[in-house]
Symmetry: C2
Subunit: 166 residues, 2 copies
DNA sequence: GCTGAAATCGCCTAACG
DNA sequence: CGTTAGGCGATTTCAGC
């Protein structure tokens, strides 16, 4: 991915599309202050260069019947690269695991899981995760309530940072 | 929000828009097997009833210069409702905190944070989070590498579940 | 080179059956 | 829910800075 340096218009485009991914191109062009054709070209470039990975509808998981959200801390017996990769591949295959991040410190991975109910999650826990090879320790934390869940990145910090270095 | 029961077409629409939020309505209609106008009507209803909360471009945080991602476990001194709410409100105001979830167990909250570099995060940690009222304990875990980060919900589990109960 | 203007094409989105 | 139809946005082409 060629790190084609972004100008202010590019960053505005990214911020606008992060806030509303279904905005029409003419609306987007108006907001960033250029006409539609160059705006669309910039969007295409941002997509091709990987700055925009995709567009997703933000679906309300609770309304759809996913009542349970759980963070799972996982420790492995072996931290050899092959074993780490094997565990990551397993997580990618489990659809109820939405996120898997490798951490520093005492715990090796944190998983964010979603399930329709507790029994579905429990059967995943005992039937899949705990029986997976190389898993040494598992600690689960149920989400009691969500206070904030913003997708994407804080563009205000980026702008603040750029103005400081200008 | 009137829980207008979703049929199979509605669920397909949600799954498709979660996978590609910028899909045109005619493409969406083709995929779910109906013509464009009723498809658009369904989408509008799903938006109005809150099943679709919004649409967002998935921006690559690393490409944009956000090199640091951290999970923060926070314990509070008082778990009185007013104090919990106050902490949540503070998290919502911190733009580098992208997620804040209240948990069961020994730790009260988990935060997912994003920052351009470690020093930016450290100054948030010492300057904002640790000095906030009612904060008793803070434990941070840096993300070494991301293995999976899927937005949204697993529709395959939903369909599997519905077919079992049919 | 990149932007803007014009023109074409396709989509969105009413109204009606 | 489908069809029709009019208006608007998307997207290419081309000229100008």
């Amino acid at each position: 991915m060629a790190q084609h340096r972004l100008d202010e218009i590019d960053r505005k485009i990214l911020a606008e599309l992060q806030a509303d991914g279904r905005m029409t191109n003419v609306e987007l062009a108006k907001r960033v202050g250029i006409s539609a054709p160059p705006c669309l070209r910039r969007v295409r470039v941002l997509e091709e260069q990987g700055f925009i990975r995709g567009y997703h509808a933000d679906v309300d998981s609770r309304a759809l019947g996913f009542e349970v959200q759980v963070f799972v801390m996982v420790g492995l017996q072996s931290q050899a690269e092959a074993d780490l990769s094997a565990f990551e591949a397993r997580c990618r295959a489990w659809s109820l695991v939405r996120e898997c991040h490798m951490l520093n410190g005492e715990v090796d991975f944190i998983l964010k899981c979603v399930a329709p109910d507790l029994s579905t999650f429990q059967s995943f826990l005992t039937g899949d995760l705990l029986t997976a090879p190389n898993v040494a320790s598992v600690k689960t934390s149920l989400v009691i309530r969500g206070a904030k869940d913003e997708p994407g990145v804080p563009f205000d910090i980026l702008e603040e940072r750029l103005s400081r270095s200008a």
